[in-house]
């Protein structure tokens, strides 16, 4: 198995490691770095539980090799709270009861983060399509949509 040296900025810290060519990014995060907030819910890139941001774009980390993230900047759920302050999306999921078992939640939050970055004031329909690559079995999505709306309002309020 050939090895590759990768340097990835993860949640603001630069990390260099030697990894196998075939090591999936999600396993690198979960097993090499023991950052277990990023979850695995399927093997076909459908559930979105493993979603992280790479250079601001949401990607399913089960679908990338670690070496494909070489030189890039990664944000995971562990990087969303800054200086003891929750990200508005984290706050929104709590306030609007947008989670139950919590397993899909990190992926949902990371996907919604890019959605709000690109479209700060989405309609309900845009949120529904925007998170449709992430599956949730507990909530029926209703409160997840409210959580995203809560965050959108909060982000806009903070910006003004």
């Amino acid at each position: 198995m050939s090895k590759h040296t990768v340097t990835i900025e993860i949640n603001g810290s630069s990390i260099t490691r030697e990894v196998d060519s075939r090591l999936l990014l999600v396993h690198f995060l979960r097993e090499e770095l023991v950052m277990t907030g990023t979850h695995i819910g399927c093997d076909t890139s459908h559930c979105g539980a493993c979603t992280v941001l790479i250079d601001g774009r949401s990607v399913k980390s089960c679908t990338l090799f670690t070496m494909q993230a070489n030189g890039k900047s990664l944000t995971t759920i562990e990087g969303m709270e800054t200086e003891g302050k929750l990200h508005p999306l984290q706050e929104g999921f709590h306030q609007e009861h947008g989670l139950q078992c919590g397993f899909c939640t990190p992926g949902m939050i990371m996907r919604a983060a890019e959605l709000l970055d690109k479209n700060p004031n989405p309609t309900e329909e845009e949120i529904r399509w925007g998170i449709s690559g992430n599956l949730c079995r507990c909530t029926g999505y209703v409160n997840i949509i409210k959580a995203v709306q809560y965050a959108a309002e909060k982000i806009q309020k903070e910006a003004t």
Binding site: D20, R22, L23, H27, R30, E31, V34, M35, T36, G37, T38, H39, I40, G41, C42, D43, T44, H46, C47, A49, T76, I77, E78, M80, E81, L86, Q90, F93, H94, Q95, H97, L99, Q100, C101, G102, F103, C104, T105, P106, I109, I127, R128, W129, I131, S132, G133, N134, L135, C136, R137, C138, T139, G140, Y141, V142, N143, I144, I145
Partner: protein, 789 residues
Amino acid sequence: MNGPKTSVEVGGMGHNIKRKEDARFIRGQGKYTDDVVLPGMLHMDIVRSPYAYAKIKSINTDNAMAIPGVHAVITGEVLEGYNLHWMPTLMSDTQMVLPTDTVMYQSQEVAAVIADDRYIAADGVEAVEVEYEPMQAVVDPFKAMEADAPVLRTDKEGKTDNHIWHWETGDAEKTEEAFQAADVVVKEKVYLPRIHVASIETCGCVASFDPVEGKLTVWMTTQAPHAIRTVVALVAGHVGLSEEKIRIISPDIGGGFGGKVPVYPGYVIAIASSVVIGKPVKWVEDRSENLQADSFARDYHMDVELAASNSGKMEALRIKTVADHGYTDAAANPSKYPAGMFSICTGSYDIKNAFTEMDAYYTNKPPGGIAYRCSFRVTEAVHAIERIVDVLALKLGRDPADLRMQNFIQPEDFPYQSALGWEYDSGNYPRALKLAMEKIGYEELRREQKEKRERGELMGIGISSFTEIVGAGPSKDFDILGIKMFDSCELRIHPTGKAIARFGTKSQGQGHETTYAQILAEELGIPSSQIQIEEGDTDTAPYGLGTYASRSTPTAGAAAAKAAHKIREKARKIAAHLLEASEEDLEWEVGKFFVKGSPEQAKTIQEIAFAAYTNHPQGLEPGLEATHYYDPPNMTFPFGSYICVVDIDRKTGEIKIRRFVAIDDCGNIINPMIVEGQIHGGLTQGLAPAMYEELIYDEQGNILNGSFMDYLLPTSVETPNWETEQTITPSPHHPLGAKGVAESPTVGAPPAIANAVVDALSHLGVENIDIPITPFKVWQVFQEKGAAA
């Protein structure tokens, strides 16, 4: 219940308390089974059968063992050496852990590779060579029952057919007489297909055997850790695993829905491997394995008949069912009820005569079946009755709401004795249906439908007025493998008046850390924010049967209230001592005892708790703790009325849910926010089988949709905006008047959706369409009925 009794600060029942467990989940700090990492831990992956039915001629593990990092390949032969190659199912049937000579379903476990990491384990799986001799699989239960069908369970001595059991209840003779005498009889074949719970977290475990202490610790995705501990002790006692040396930990669970009740072979192989190798072993299945091999739900073929008078009075119900259990009966029902609570099938209606019978068969499909978010087969029963009521309405030319109203069990009839033997505790069915009709604007919708029909547009309105039966259950009737289905709470009040409580249940997203604290706050006046809730560790929590079938609130929730009452009784003695009053002169109000007539003479629960450790009355045991094991006197019977409106595209058959109103009644409510969230989720898991989900097999027993590529879970785009509201009819026998809620919507939604689609097409001569109702099925109806646009 008129508003919360406690202040917001105390946060008892009825408050919308934000969930305590969220703090870790929104930060990615939850601790699920796959997050457990132990020093020296090995990884396990499983070789699975490509055939549904085959002889195993040979298994060659040499190439796998030659891979650096592979520690062991476990086969049936290896397990046979320890007599661990078979295990009992929860229904007292038997199941292979690993086969020694035959595989019975596609994706069955054939061998397991133990390696340094999951990649090497997967390499090992690829390198194991298995030679099979395929045989003709029996996939259809109607073929399995034929006289010349091959006998599948040749492991059972003397077995001459594929029949598992026959079950019946009710009065066959009286029911037949009622059918003979009836003006009108309607009949329908209704099939509820095989589906899968597909919780987003799959199943797995980390088994860690400490050879020095002789202690086995297993972190496991299980909804019932205590029962698992006892099962492990019973199954593996002969290899030295004694119950006091077994610790099962259910960490955070990423959704259960019944799929995490059974014992799967993977758990047993991982445990056996850890014991043999002496190192921790992690096994986490992938999604495809989960869909293809873990327990399915439903798969009931039902012949439903309803007899009525010309005026619409329902006289008799009869249902004959063929149940496909796959290779073994690995359902998770109480022992006495092989068909679960199917006998709730008379539903919300006063039907005096009923008879139901069922025959279960083996086939070459994965074993099961579990409940998929319902209380042991209630969904099947409710679908049967709610569909046939609409068929009767159609036959009589009656409005389906009106026909339901005519036949409802009336509020004054409770407690109501059903024809099939249940005592319904409480209900007000007309109120729920009326509220649903008002909320959705029923009369106006019927007018709109009439106009649209004249214009050739397809619109349908479907009703489901279901009754559930949850909270298993009273020990006189309910056990699993002999263990009675009580549940428990152990409560400790600390000197500073804070508390910790542990339970025999296990939340998988239901929010027990929040709601159990609210129950205790209600009963003791200690703020719910100061009450720590723990579940899922068999070394610390009291024994209980776990969380499924909406049983946590009816059983463990009641145990919490009862334990709090015991605390109050002792607190009264301490308060009397502190106030120098007699116990009889003290009265309780939330959070304190006071002397009757002089409310200023009072001691708070916090003052009493402190005294319990610092100044207890001589002769009284110090400390303030209580444990209660709650044996429910009866089941609870949540109910509701749902109305669904659909619009159907005349060209494509596409179904659009325009509105869905859900009125639920789960008795008194602990946390309205959480109840609403549970209903949203349950409705979505009702939508799923109604329109999307089915595990499909071909005639060779190959699964045709064994991954998320084509097993369709509803996404945010398909899921409508649910409109929910509750009525409250308390349970008279539950200490809190509560009933359990999370499964009602999964049970009630599918017939509401199916009835709406059939209603849209009924003028074309459609009486029934089996779920999942896909656009293709509707399009086929258009073709058959010459109604294509």
